[in-house]
């Protein structure tokens, strides 16, 4: 496999930032390996750079369908105990989580 040392398409610090966004933690060794591997994939994707796509519409959906709507009718709800029985931690019929730092955006 190719070793990427110079002019990489993605830097080590970018990979670290991306891991942060994705809520993953990487060891230094993993960071190096992932940086090289992601750079290889992005390198392959570089063939797209040559394409002139200015007048091409991005595909939003494989099929030309729209307005898929459901009537506003109450349906079946989940059994609370069945759902909570799969939760890592519960209290008072709620999902218990360690303290949340910061507020919802």
């Amino acid at each position: 496999m190719t070793e990427y040392t110079a002019r990489q398409r993605i830097s080590r610090s970018e990979v670290a930032h991306v891991a942060d966004l994705a809520r993953l933690s990487l060891t230094d060794q993993e960071l190096d390996a992932f940086t090289n591997q992601l750079a290889a994939v992005l390198d392959h994707a570089a063939d797209l750079e040559a394409l002139d796509l200015t007048d091409v519409e991005p595909m939003i959906h494989p099929l030309p369908v729209h307005n898929v709507l459901r009537p506003d009718v109450v349906g079946e709800t989940s059994d609370r105990n069945e759902v909570l029985s799969c939760a890592p931690s519960i209290e008072n019929e709620q999902f218990r989580v360690p303290p949340v730092l910061g507020e919802s955006p």
Partner: protein, 491 residues
């Protein structure tokens, strides 16, 4: 007495429905095959012996009461372990789903059960469907039943192996970039990726939502047709489901290919394609000749933008995956690694729960969507999909069906490509374009490679034309060279 190619879902269902055989005896026979070879193949994450016996007994009771259990009466089926089954662990071969039992069935599971099928187990896969060899599983690799040193392909490697080994005549896989067709090819069985929207994705754990599609894996073309008739058709729980009934396929299989115009895709079979094997090219040539002999016209054609398929795919699929897999955060289900605060708990859980390939794709996708890179990667790749669709549309003005190999090579040795993700990704080069365009395609076994391992031919059709695709597949099946490996005849 292990089930062989002669034992088909169609035949078993007919026997069970008519009372010639009991569903229970069919099941026990298959369970004994599983018992004999599952240890070395490891097709399953879970075999549901008691549940399956209970289900078979229900079918038998229906027959005894004079009721028709349905077109798959008593047929044992295996489900890829990313398809939700109520109360039964659904792991996606990931540690992160440890302990999760879905509170609901996927639509396809409900439909199979309603048709009389008997679910015997959940099959191994590359974690969340990310891989082409079933080596990226938290629960160990699945081996190719035809050569235990080789991979079965992936990500539906467990389902393809189960069918090839005679564990079940039918299995469900899911296909995001070739995950049904490539393992089917490598294991010498039939695998179908239907048109996007023909089979409901409700209850399929998402990898890349705009590409994922559930489909059948079977030993015969007719069995895949039968299974697709059962699982296909509109489902109001999936907004991307096509609002029409499942196509009638079993009745068209004998119509032949007389007068059909068939094109061989240069970009996916010619010398320009990196890593395509000589024996694969040879079988494709023979397949073309066989179709011509059967009355079709065959010519080479070009679908130029398919060469960008791999690049676009490895942006779009990871991008969607990075979002789809965010929910594995340790809060509501599955694994949790505790930490002093919620954010650190998310990180600890995801870091411990996901394997390397999943992490790699999550990061790739996160990067492709992140501020400043969206247009260069995700935006551009979605435009490439439009190009590919336009190119296919042009090709289908001239041809009814397109042909290519399913995979560039036969099954490769376990461990050969695990350290080089890009080399692994190149395995999907022939299959990806159908997913990007949302078109149907299927792999049909057609002879062997120089190593004696099976080779699959990919039949591609325009959107919703499964009927013509199956007609061509049936002819390929009937004209395939002799010397097929003893499918189901596990040593």
């Amino acid at each position: 007495m292990s089930p062989s190619k002669e034992i088909t879902a169609r035949g078993l269902a007919a026997e069970v429905r008519s009372g010639v055989r009991s569903a229970r005896s069919v099941l026990e026979e298959h369970l004994s095959v599983i018992d004999a070879s599952e240890k070395e193949i490891h097709a399953f994450n879970l075999v549901l012996i008691e549940d399956a016996r209970a289900a078979a007994d229900v079918v038998d009771a229906q027959v005894a009461a004079g009721d028709d259990p349905g077109p798959l009466a008593g047929v044992p089926v295996a489900l890829k372990d990313n398809i939700c089954t109520r109360g039964v662990p659904t792991t996606c071969s990931s540690r992160i789903l440890e302990g999760w039992r879905p509170p609901y069935n996927a639509t396809v599971v409900d439909r199979l059960v309603a048709a009389g099928a008997v679910v015997v187990g959940k099959t191994n896969l590359d974690e969340f469907g990310m891989g082409s060899s079933t080596e990226n599983s938290a629960f160990g690799v699945t081996r190719n039943p035809l050569d235990l040193r080789k991979v079965p392909g992936g990500s539906s490697g467990g389902s393809a192996a189960a069918v090839a080994a005679g564990f079940t005549p039918l299995a469900l896989g899911s296909d995001t970039g070739g995950s049904i067709r490539q393992p089917a090819a490598l294991c010498g069985v039939v695998g179908v990726k239907p048109t996007y929207g023909v089979v409901s994705r409700y209850g399929l754990v998402a990898f890349a939502s705009s590409l994922d599609q559930i489909g059948p894996i079977s030993r015969t073309v007719a069995d895949s047709a039968l299974m697709l008739e059962v699982i296909g058709g509109h489902d109001r729980r999936d907004s991307t489901s096509i609002p029409v009934p499942a196509p009638d396929l079993t009745s068209v299989l004998d119509r032949g290919v007389e007068g059909l115009r068939i094109g061989i895709i240069e970009e996916l079979s010619g010398d320009g394609l990196e890593g395509i094997a000589v024996d694969v090219k040879a079988r494709l040539g023979e397949a073309a000749a066989a179709l011509e002999a059967a009355g079709a016209t065959v010519a080479a054609t070009s679908v130029p933008s398919t060469v960008y398929g791999l690049s676009a795919y490895y942006v779009v699929a990871p991008a969607e995956a990075s979002s789809n897999l965010a929910r594995y955060d340790g809060v509501r289900f599955g694994l949790r690694i505790d930490a002093p605060n919620a954010g650190d708990m998310n990180i600890a859980t995801r870091t411990a729960g996901f394997g390397d390939e999943v992490k790699r794709r999550i990061m790739l996708g996160t990067y492709a969507l992140s501020a400043g890179y969206y247009d260069a990667y995700y935006g551009k790749s979605q435009k490439v999909r439009t190009l590919i669709m336009n190119d296919f549309a042009r090709a289908y003005e001239e041809f009814d069906i397109l042909l290519s190999p399913t995979a560039p090579t036969t099954a490769f040795p376990i461990g050969e490509k695990t350290s080089d993700p890009m080399a692994m990704y190149l395995n999907d080069v022939c299959t990806i374009s159908s997913n990007l365009a949302g078109h149907p395609s299927m792999s049909v076994p057609f002879g062997l490679g120089n190593d004696g391992m099976p080779i699959g031919i990919q039949v591609l059709a325009p959107a919703t034309d499964e009927v013509t695709m199956f007609r061509v597949a049936a002819v390929l099946e009937s004209t395939a060279p002799a010397g097929h490996p003893a499918i189901g005849g596990v040593a």
